[in-house]
């Protein structure tokens, strides 16, 4: 973890966290499906102070051609942060961190997407982090699932994502930026609730085997909360208020 000294009380005696949440509470999450005109599918998520936009193109021709696969479609994911999304300006060129996150998000989505129906094509997922505040990969993954569904790409399940972690010796849900910097562990989880499969899992920080088990459990429960909001975003677009 960041290893920085906490300048604030991370968890008070009533079990209230630095941003006023309870230990099993997520930040405020809003997801909207279909927010872009040109993309085949899109979604916008606000996850606490994270603001992330996802656009989907495809299935479409693969360029360069040698990347295409005659047996299946391929998924390509670009996770990118805007220079203005963080406190200190970020160099706009893709960092090693962004390349790694792109890869783990791609691998988290692949089990859900039925790409075998579209051989020789590519589905491109473009994730743009407009503002970052801890937990961007989970927010981005949740939004990307909604955007893929919005693009009409056949899916086995949505991938919902949420982080759990250890803050002030307590396992908590949805670690925010301050807790990530000063906390003891951060475990982002991506989960397909219907298929009961974990498709993204990382961990920074030290956990005993018991805490580890608890942390996975808490995170999976968080994913189920996000899942409901993802479904709501899709029903709102396709069945809500008589539009579309």
């Amino acid at each position: 973890m960041g290893g920085r000294e906490a300048t604030m009380v991370l968890l008070d005696e009533n079990g209230i966290r630095c941003d006023g949440r309870k230990i099993d509470e997520t930040r405020k999450i809003t997801i909207k499906a279909g927010v872009l005109k040109n993309a085949d599918g899109s979604a916008y998520i606000e996850f606490g102070d994270n603001k992330i936009l996802v656009g989907i193109f495809g299935p479409r021709d693969v360029h360069p051609k040698h990347m295409s696969d005659t047996d299946t479609g391929i998924l390509r994911v670009r996770y990118h942060m805007e220079p203005f999304s963080v406190t200190e300006r970020k160099n706009p060129a893709p960092s090693r961190r962004e390349i790694e996150i792109s890869k783990v998000i791609k691998e988290a989505l692949e089990p859900a997407v039925m790409l075998e129906k579209f051989p020789r094509t590519a589905v491109d997922v473009f994730i743009e982090v407009l503002q970052a505040d801890g937990g961007t990969r989970c927010a981005a993954l949740s939004a990307a699932s909604v955007a893929l569904a919005d693009a009409g790409i056949p899916m086995r399940d949505l991938v919902a994502a949420c982080a759990s972690g250890k803050v002030a010796d307590t396992i908590v849900l949805d670690v925010n930026n301050e807790e990530d910097q000063a906390g003891q562990a951060d475990m982002p989880i991506g989960y397909m609730p219907n298929l009961k499969k974990i498709t993204l899992l990382q961990l920074d920080g030290i956990l005993t085997p018991e805490e580890y088990k608890k942390c996975v459990e808490v995170g999976v429960n968080g994913c189920k909360i996000v899942y409901e909001l993802q479904k709501k975003a899709l029903t709102d677009k396709y069945f809500g208020n008589g539009s579309d």
Partner: protein
């Protein structure tokens, strides 16, 4: 490595058929890592080094220790950076040029396992607060490939760091100056051990070899520290794990990791 061929499909079928009988292609038990050999001080010009063979996977780590500027918000801590690279001689599919995403992931996962375990006591590596600190650079190169680079790289870096000695510097007239003849072991607090498991069908196998690596549906790398706690984890591959499997993998990593930690300790004692 990356390209799937008919041969790979046949191999996968064979590997899966064997697993159904409780066997692996090279005769190991499902939770049995390949033989590990560690040669420390392989590069005497480095401050610490180790060549590690994990089956037929071979990697080399050299540690360089030199004064550096601290990170702006970490003026009271030394610097630790770990990199990993696949040499073009390690496999026919490796090309020169900017690193591929899977190599970047390899380097970052190896770095994270060591960093998050707090193996190196960075607070002891300060020359002058906010001005100059000691930088520890563990650079790993892959020499020969036969699967599971994550663990091979982690063991090489850990063994190299355990046997590293650091020179001593002081500030003289605002300049960092080497104090001759004052070398001491690098301050370490714990021994991180990464254990990578592959999932093929519904089977979890420890330390997949090259053929198994090409056949797996998903993988998970879990790093534990000397207290038997879990300090870093990375899931990869295009399939998922159930919650039960994740817990099971955690247990395997603690159990198998403890045995490997003894090997790393032996290599440290052997070099003294």
């Amino acid at each position: 490595m990356a390209s799937k061929s008919v041969i790979d499909e046949l191999k996968k079928t064979q590997i899966l058929e064997l697993l159904e009988q409780g066997k692996r292609v090279d005769g190991r038990a499902l939770d049995e890592p390949r033989e590990i050999s560690i040669e420390t001080n392989a590069i005497p010009k480095a401050n610490g080094s180790a060549k590690v063979r994990l089956g037929d996977t071979e990697v080399l780590c050299g540690v360089k220790i030199q004064p550096d500027r601290p990170f702006p918000d970490m003026g009271d801590k030394g610097i630790f950076i770990c990199t990993a690279e696949l040499l073009p001689l390690s496999h026919p599919t490796v090309e020169t040029g900017p690193p591929q995403p899977h190599v970047i992931e390899l380097a970052r996962v190896t770095d994270r396992g060591i960093r998050e375990s707090h193996m190196i006591d960075l607070s002891q590596l300060v020359i002058e607060k906010d001005k100059s600190v000691v930088g520890v650079f563990a650079d790993i190169v892959v020499i020969d490939y036969d699967g599971n680079l994550f663990d091979a790289c982690s063991y090489a870096a850990t063994a190299a760091l355990l046997t590293s000695t650091t020179p001593k510097w002081t500030m003289v007239d605002d300049k960092v100056t080497l104090v001759d003849g004052e070398e001491s072991p690098l301050p370490t607090t714990t021994i991180p051990v990464s254990v990578t498991m592959g999932k093929i069908g519904n089977y979890i196998i420890v330390d997949p070899n090259g053929d198994e690596w090409d056949s797996m549906d998903a993988r998970i790398t879990i790093t534990t520290n000397s207290d038997g706690n879990i300090c870093a984890l990375q899931k990869g591959g295009s399939d998922g794990f159930t919650q039960e499997e994740i817990v099971q993998c955690g247990e395997i990593s603690v159990r198998v990791g403890a045995k490997i930690r003894e090997k790393l300790k032996e290599s440290q004692q052997g070099s003294q």
